[in-house]
Symmetry: C3
Subunit: 274 residues, 3 copies
C-alpha cells in the first residue's frame, strides 16, 4: 500500500532542510541519508530562506530552541510555504515551558504545516493547551491504547481538519491521520524509548519521505512512521543476537533504515486504516 | 555499600536538566537514559528556569560555553538552589581561557553546587586559581598517584568544606570527597581517555544518580564514579573480543551503562574510604 | 613517502582548536583523538583567541554557521596567523547561501590558510564564484574524473599559488596540491558519502596532521586525505563481514582511524604525484 514512496525517496534524493536541536542532530542527518535523502542543517536567520529555497522539504524541531533559532524557524517556514515545500513540525516538549508554548502556537498560526508529529501529550497540548508534558516524554494518563484508539483517531482527524496538516501521534500504537482517514500503526519496539532522538529521527525521515512524495503527504507520513517502527523491530532482533545495549541499538536503528526498501515495508508494516 | 542508589534511579527515572556542550551532548543524553534517568537539554534564558523547576537535577557543563548559555547557567543554577534541586558542576577547561575562568568563579560564588566534578587541573584551578590546564585534559604534573593520594584527598575534603559541595576528582585514581570522608576509586580504563566525552558523561550520570538520591549526595556521586569506571572496564573487555577501535568503544560504554545494576556495581566496584 | 607524518602526530598529540558545525562535531572530536591529536571546541568571541593561542592548529568549518560564530572564526583565524599556527578551512556549502558566500570570501581575504579543503563545487566557488552547489554535496557536472584530472590539478595548483594555501579537493579521486606539486589520491569508498561528516572529519584530521607537522603542510595534508580514504576502505571491508549498514560504518571509520599507522598508510596509500 506504500508502493513507490520509498522508491521515490531513493530516486529523487530530496534535500531536507532541518532546523533542529543539537542533541540529536547528527542522528537526524545520518538517518535522512540512510532513508535516501540528503540533509542540510542551517539555522541562521541570514541564510535559512536561501537554504529552504533550494530544498525539497523543511523540518522544524523545537528541541533546544532558542530566541535566535525561533526567528529562523518562522522565516524558513514562511519561505517553505511560499515555495510550496512540505513542512514537518516536531513540537518537542511543547508544554514544558512558556517559551516553547508561545513559539509552538505562533508557528501553528503563521506556518501551514504538511505534517505535525509528536507524542500524544505534545499534540494534545497543541490542540487545546490541555495536555500535560513532563519533560519531553508523554504522560502516562495520555497514552494511546486499544481502548481509546478510535477516540484518539477522531481527535487526530478533527485536529487535522482544523490545521490542514497530517497529524502523526507516536506511542505504543501510532496514529497518522488527515481529516478523512487514519492509519493505526503497530510497528515499533519499546527499546526505541531507551535512546534519545527516535522521535526527532522520525520527523527527519518524514521530511525525507514527504520531500520526495509531495503529492501523497498522508501516505508518505504513514510510511515513515511504519518504516521507522519496523527498523526499530529489526534493530532489536539484531541487538538480541549481539547481546548489545542501548549504544548498539542506536547504531543498528540507523543500519536498518539504510537497508529499508519497499518489499521489507510491505511485508513488515503492521497497520490498519479507518 | 552503594545499595539502593541504582535501584532508586531506575525506579524514579529522574528528569535531568543539562546545560552542556554541543560536542558530547548526544552521548550525555544517551547515557542519562542508559543510567535510568530522563534527559532534557534546554539552554535558552527564556525557558531554563521553567525546565529546571520540573527537573530532579541540574547539570552545568562549561564546554563550548558562550555568552548566552553563561547567563542561562546562572539563572538555572539559582532556580535549582531555590527549588532545593541537586546541581552538578563540570568546569570543563576552567583555566583554558579568561572567559571560562570568570564564569567558573562566578558560578562558584552564586550557585550552591551539590557536586563539583573535574580533573585535578580543573579542580585545583577552581580551588586556588593555581592549576595549569592545557586544553581540556589534566596536566601531567598534577596527576593523582598512589604517592600523593592522601594529600589530594585532604585537599578535596578541604575544598568540600569551603564550598559545601561534594568534590569528585577524576583521573587514573578518582577521588570523591565531602568534608569528612573520601572515596578513592580504582575503576576505569585508559581507553576512556581516547574518546571524547567520558568526563561529560560522568557528570551527566552523576546528575541522574543524585537526582534520584538527593539525600545521599556523597554516596550517589561515588557510585556514579565507580559505575562509570566499571562500565569503562567492561566495555574494554568486550572491545578486546570484538577487536574494535575507539568508535566501537564509545558505543560499548553506553551499552554497559544501560546494563549496570546494583549487583554488578557491588562486585566490580573498587574503592576504599578514608 | 609519508614517513614520520603519523608518528609525529602520535608523539606530539597536537591540540586542535575547531570551530565547526554542531551536526558532526562529535565525530570530529572523536576522529581527532583517534588520529592522535587532542580536540578542543570553543566558539565564543570572548575566548577563541585564548584557545587558539594554546593550540597547535585551527580548523574553521562553515557548516551551521551563524553570525556569532562567523565573528569568532575571523578572530581565531587572525590569532592563528599571528601565532604562526596552521589553519585549515572547510568551506562547507560555500555557495549555498549569500551569507556563507560572503563569509567565505571574507575569510579568504583576511586569513592566510594553510589548507583549503572542499569538494570540487566548493573549491570552484571559492576560486571564481562560478561553481554551483546544491546543498553540501558536489554537483554532478563538476566531478573529478580520469579525463579531467590533469586539468583540475592545474586549476588546484593555480588556486594554490593565488592563495598560498594547499588545496585539497575531495571526490572519487582526491587532489591535493600546492603551487608546484599535486597528489592524486585514489583511496576512499563510495560508502563514505552515505554518512554525514566524512568531509568534516577529514578537515579535522588534516588539522591534527598539519598541527604536528607544520613544516610539511602539503605532505601532511596528502597523508590525511590518503589516510582518511584508506580508513574508509578498511571500514567497508569490516562492514561487509558484519553485514552492517551506515550506522555501523560510521563507527568503523573512527575505529580504523584509531588504528592507522605509518606502515598501513605506506602499504594501503594509493596516490601519484605530478
Amino acid at each position: 500500500m506504500f508502493e513507490q514512496i520509498i522508491t521515490n525517496v531513493r530516486n529523487n534524493v530530496p534535500l531536507v532542510h532541518a532546523i533542529t536541536n543539537y542533541v540529536t542532530v547528527n542522528d537526524c542527518a545520518n538517518i535522512i541519508l540512510a532513508s535516501g535523502g540528503s540533509p542540510i542543517m542551517a539555522d541562521d536567520i541570514n541564510e535559512v530562506t536561501d537554504i529552504t529555497a533550494i530544498s525539497s522539504a523543511l523540518v522544524l524541531n523545537m528541541g533546544t530552541l532558542n530566541e535566535r533559532t525561533a526567528l529562523s524557524m518562522l522565516a524558513a517556514g514562511k519561505k517553505a510555504n511560499q515555495c510550496g515545500l512540505p513542512v514537518v513540525f516536531d513540537p518537542v516538549g511543547a508544554g514544558a515551558s512558556a517559551f516553547r508554548k508561545k513559539l509552538a502556537y505562533q508557528l501553528l498560526e503563521e506556518i501551514q504545516f504538511s505534517v505535525i508529529k509528536g507524542n500524544i501529550s505534545e499534540i494534545k497540548f497543541l490542540a487545546a493547551g490541555e495536555g500535560k508534558t513532563a519533560g519531553v516524554d508523554a504522560c502516562e494518563g495520555d497514552k494511546v491504547t486499544e481502548d481509546n484508539l478510535k477516540g484518539v483517531a477522531d481527535f487526530a482527524k478533527e485536529f487535522s481538519k482544523r490545521t490542514g496538516s497530517v497529524i502523526a501521534i507516536t506511542g505504543a500504537i501510532d496514529l497518522v491521520a488527515d481529516g478523512n482517514l487514519a492509519y493505526a500503526v503497530r510497528n515499533g519496539h519499546i527499546m526505541m524509548s531507551r535512546i534519545t532522538g527516535t522521535g526527532c529521527m522520525l520527523a527527519a525521515v518524514t521530511g525525507s519521505y514527504v520531500g520526495a512524495n509531495p503529492g501523497s503527504i498522508l501516505k508518505a507520513s504513514a510510511a515513515a512512521v511504519c518504516g521507522m517502527g519496523l527498523c526499530g523491530e529489526l534493530a532489536y532482533k539484531k541487538l538480541s543476537q549481539l547481546h548489545g545495549g542501548t549504544g548498539t541499538y542506536r547504531m543498528l536503528l540507523i543500519d536498518e533504515m539504510s537497508r529499508l526498501n519497499e518489499q521489507m515495508l510491505e511485508e513488515g508494516g503492521k497497520y490498519e486504516c479507518f
